[in-house]
């Protein structure tokens, strides 16, 4: 199945959003004496929760394996497995570790029991005879925390689902738009090539608009595709000679470098364990920007270097271009954000956001310093990854 088809399928399935965990919380009461269980249940029955009862540590553990609990009321004095032992076993089990335990006991109010309980991870300690109001209000606090936590989990899930859907949508859209825009571009060109002599100046101008806009749209679509591919495709980490990648990128810019007589200075660059595409996307965008954002009053100069800082390397791409107005600094990495008219400086506003997405995905950072009229320095960090054999 093609990638696009597979994505469509996932997208359709994703619309059946999982309703998530139940909204009513569960409480577990553990006591070896039936009358205590009934009494406690009576105290808690007005709370909006489902109450489970267990009359031994074993039964409690088996219930906890099958259900999620907002809070557990655990009797300390029980035959066979006492409350402390039960709690210790609970702590060993990942799914039970974070369930709050309130110990309930009739025995001594000695400090040492409370200390022991706290060490095991109990959040509270209540003595019999139970004061109903205190018990109810304590349990209520844990129920509220539990419900809020569940709600956050649900929201997070919904958010990440809609995020994923949006990304897939962008990907599918841009993928499928390539075809028709390519047709528009090719046929506008064909018209120009074969029938231009039949058109007057206005007609030629219109045709020119069609061709130029089709080209721009092609660039946008391929940039959006590039952006949405970051993070979708698995990144292979390999031995990367950064100088070699830089040379490959510079080769693509040869016509521009020659035309603008730009001076490129390259410092010593390392060999790192990283992803080739990451580095080449970064160089391509930052050097491309350095060459593009020039006001033609001076010879473009671009310096590229890298310095080691522990396990990470800080790369620097410095240009002597027009610089960035401080008013726009905060918006620099926002997708589709452009600061100039297309006629002045062409572009899609996707390059830097792709850089940022890519760098952050790899655990790095990107930032810049800039002075209007003097130039901009972009910095980005790349971790020298450990290669697992």
């Amino acid at each position: 199945m093609s990638e696009v088809l597979a994505n469509r399928k996932i997208m359709m399935e994703a619309t059946n959003i999982d309703p998530g965990p139940e909204t009513r919380a569960n409480i577990l009461i553990v006591d070896d004496r039936k009358e205590n269980l009934i009494a406690t249940e009576k105290v808690l029955k007005n709370l909006d929760a489902v109450i489970f009862k267990a009359n031994s540590g074993n039964e409690a553990l088996s219930l906890m394996l099958r259900h999620r609990f907002a809070v557990v009321l655990l009797d300390v004095q029980m035959p066979e497995m006492d409350g402390f032992e039960t709690a210790k076993l609970m702590q060993e089990h990942e799914s039970m570790q974070n369930v709050p335990i309130i110990f309930v006991t009739a025995i001594s109010k000695e400090e040492k029991y409370a200390t022991q309980a706290a060490e095991i991870g109990a959040v509270d300690y209540i003595f019999k005879p139970i004061n109903s109001d205190i018990l109810r209000s304590k349990v209520k606090v844990y129920l509220d925390i539990y419900l809020q936590h569940q709600q956050i989990l649900r929201l997070n899930k919904t958010l990440s689902q809609s995020n994923e859907e949006l990304e897939r949508f962008a990907y599918i859209c841009s993928h499928d738009m390539q075809e028709p825009v390519r047709m528009m571009h090719s046929y506008a060109e064909l018209l120009e090539r074969k029938y231009a002599q039949l058109l007057d100046e206005t007609g030629k101008k219109y045709l020119n608009f069609i061709t130029n806009n089709a080209k721009h749209m092609q660039k946008m679509i391929s940039d959006i595709l590039g952006f949405s591919r970051v993070g979708r495709e698995e990144l292979t980490i390999e031995h990367v000679d950064c100088s070699q990648i830089l040379q490959e990128v510079l080769e693509k810019f040869t016509p521009q470098i020659q035309e603008k007589k730009a001076r490129i200075t390259i410092g010593t660059l390392p060999v790192l364990n990283t992803n080739v595409t990451l580095l080449s996307v970064l160089f391509q965008n930052l050097i491309g920007n350095g060459l593009k954002f020039q006001d033609k009053t001076k010879v473009p100069e671009i310096e590229i270097e890298a310095n080691q800082n522990g396990r990470e390397w800080i790369f620097t791409v410095r240009d002597n271009g027009i610089g960035i107005d401080p008013r726009f600094h905060a918006k620099m990495f926002t997708i589709f954000q452009r600061l100039h008219r297309r006629e002045e400086y062409p572009g899609t506003g996707i390059g830097l956001s792709t850089c940022k997405k890519f760098i952050e995905l790899q655990g790095g950072k990107i930032w810049f310093e800039s002075t209007v009229g003097q130039g901009t320095i972009f910095y980005f960090t790349i971790n020298n990854k450990q290669v697992t054999p």
Partner: protein, 147 residues
């Protein structure tokens, strides 16, 4: 005299069929271009069924991926599993540059993978170079006896 080939273009989009024809014409290609509009038609052509009874075996197939009913990949798989057809070089000719598409096609034994150029001039260049490569540089398989 330029050497020529019989090329079968499997493509559903009329715009692309026309562009390919124009590219062949404008680029003065010597090869003969035949068109199948979907996978089923391509298979009928290749097995010389029905209206394709008198067709010649193509020297080369140019295959679009994104086609309705039978996708380009499905057709590629059928061709490469067929003892009579598998020796015909298949060039995947598509607008998708998704890495997964590229590697899937090669895994299905595509002979090369070419991105459809985004403008006419490049289209003509690609057509010319494909012809040059397969006629002047590469050696095509000899026609099998059974065809």
């Amino acid at each position: 005299m330029k050497k020529s080939m019989n090329i079968l273009l499997v493509e559903d989009n009329e715009g692309d069929i026309e562009l390919t024809k124009i590219a062949f014409r404008e680029g003065n290609l010597a090869s003969k271009l035949s068109v199948a509009h979907d996978g089923a038609e391509a298979l009928a052509y290749l097995s010389q069924e029905g209206v394709f009874e008198d067709t010649q075996r193509p020297d080369l197939i140019m295959l679009d991926l994104n086609m309705p009913v039978m996708s380009g990949k499905e057709l590629l798989e059928i061709i490469k599993k067929d003892d009579k057809l598998k020796s015909i070089p298949v060039i995947v000719f598509t607008s998708s540059n998704a890495r997964s598409d590229v590697s899937e096609c090669y895994n299905l034994h595509a002979n090369s993978y070419i991105l459809k150029p985004s403008n006419l001039e490049d289209y003509i260049q690609v057509a010319k170079r494909v012809e040059d490569f397969w006629t002047d540089i590469a050696q095509l398989p000899y026609l099998s006896e059974s065809w």
